[in-house]
């Protein structure tokens, strides 16, 4: 099912990218609506404090440099996640230098959900997944999350993280082994 959905997204994204390079406003919105949730999910899985703001920064860079992009939808997706990965790296460095505590009064109020059960289950699942990701080595986490959220191939992930194809495969296997061990042997529920 995901493959069919992906093909449809890829075809629409291909058209949108070509149109956005000519300055079509609808194409820009379509690109943002197609890729922004995945980018925000990537940031959320990495534990970024404000994933939406960082996502906006990523797409600001994307839209400003869209005129210099040349390629199809797959390449465009890889390019977007390359920018997201670099923004994530910058955010990590900023966070390591100066962790900024956010007062509770400044936190946005959670939006009311229509399906409370679904939202609660989704929130709990997100917490568990983040707990699992925190147990991974950062390099393994980067590779697995890029493959999941970005729908990128091993070669594309290798290009994003700047490593060889074999290194990415090794990181992927080790990450998989760690997750399997945590889920099976240590009884971490999903």
């Amino acid at each position: 099912m995901a493959i069919e959905r992906r093909d449809g997204d890829e075809s629409d994204l291909d058209v949108a990218v070509n149109a956005a390079r000519t300055g079509a406003g609808w194409a820009l919105e379509h690109i943002y609506e197609s890729l922004a949730p995945a980018v925000a999910g990537l940031f959320h899985a990495h534990g970024v404090d404000d994933p939406d703001d960082l996502t906006s920064e990523v797409f600001v860079g994307v839209l400003r440099n869209l005129a210099w992009f040349d390629g199809d939808a797959t390449s465009f997706r890889s390019w977007v996640f390359t920018i997201a990965y670099r923004r994530l790296t910058d955010e990590r460095r900023r966070g390591a230098r100066r962790p900024a505590p956010i007062p509770l009064a400044d936190l946005p109020e959670p939006r009311a959900a229509d399906d409370v059960d679904y939202e609660v289950e989704r929130s709990l699942a997100a917490q568990r997944v983040r707990a699992l990701c925190d147990r991974l080595v950062p390099a393994q986490r980067d590779v697995i999350l890029l493959r999941v959220f970005g729908d990128l191939t091993v070669d594309q992930v290798a290009g994003v993280v700047g490593k060889s194809r074999g290194a990415v495969k090794a990181l992927q296997r080790r990450g998989y082994a760690t997750i399997a061990r945590l889920l099976g042997n240590e009884g971490v529920p999903l």
Partner: protein
Amino acid sequence: MTRPSDRYADMLSGTRIDAAIDQALHDATVPDDVAPFAGFVDNLRVMADRPVPRPSAELAALLAGHHAVEPDAGATVTSLQPRRPRVQARTALRMRVAALGLTGKAALVAAFAAITVAGAAAGILPEPATRFVQRAIEVVTPFELPATGRDAPSEDTTEARAPGKPGHTSPVAVAQPTRDGVPLPDTTAPAGPGSATATGDSVTRPAEPGAPTPRGDSYTVAPTAPDPSDDPANGRSPDHEPAAGPAPKNGHVPPGQAPPGAPHPGGGRPGDAPPAGSDPDPEPLSAPKGYPPKGESPGGPRQAPARQGAHHGRPRGSGPGHDTGGQAPPEPQSDLPGDPQSDAPGRPDRQHPSLGGEPGRATDGWERQDPARPEADGRVASHRRGPSAPGGAAPQESDGRSTRDTGSAPAVDAPSSAPPSPSA
């Protein structure tokens, strides 16, 4: 110890893991051993199944097609970024200057002053800055800078003539090199129509007994000394007369003459023509505009007097190509008969009697003291009174001068009887 078979088994498992990961990522049917990982991937995708995040203001502007950044917090941070290098550059510059030693600071100040003076001399600086630098130099140093063309006032516009017209003086010839007290001939000013001998100009002419004062202006009597250049026997062309005053050869100063270096008083002025008919200079010279040639050609006799300095007198005139650089534009000259300002030919009343029959010598202007410029007159007076006769004219000099001028007086009427200039 790891055996090769163990490695082979690991490689196989790695291949299987790669396949399992691909199956889990592509939502394909996965084996049971990969099911937990597939569940993990599904939960990850749930995290991505979220509403579209609200774009920031900057991104919203870009999505709307506006390339301008709207002012918000993010834009403020962006706008602050370019200021940092400027402040840092200023701070770094101050620190570098402060780190310089005393010699370095002195060299820096000297370089700045040199650049300022050079800029003022070249006229690059604005006019107020140029004046300021000029005054500063004149106060600090004994040098007097010539007034630039821009700030040179034209008190008497009747004296200002267009380049190429008679009566212009080249400032180049003001300061002439001297050789043993005798100024070298002016080689920079070619003798052309109306070209002036850029020699000393006493501005005020010595009064002649009974000489008419043009336009009622007063004359200042200057000491008169026999000028060897005026002596026909001298054989020297007045064009080659010194600028600062007559200097007899061999340094001998005859009685009644000013010592070497004294300014040309009165009729002994350089550039004055010798008495009519006694000009040994075969070089054709032209008369100023409006004055008939003395002899045969309109480019005849002598030149108009040259001024001493650029700001010691008014522009007298120059030959072609000898613009004083910045004189006032030529005033429209009236050619109406009876107009004292007129340069029309056939007006002998414009010649001073002391010219000794020198046609082409415009008397008004360099003989007239301009009350509107006392400082200029004061300088003129200082030049007028030479060291030999301070404060007035020596009697014997005046007598000698008067005698000589009287002898050449009949030539005053020569221009009136001469045929009018072809240009007229």
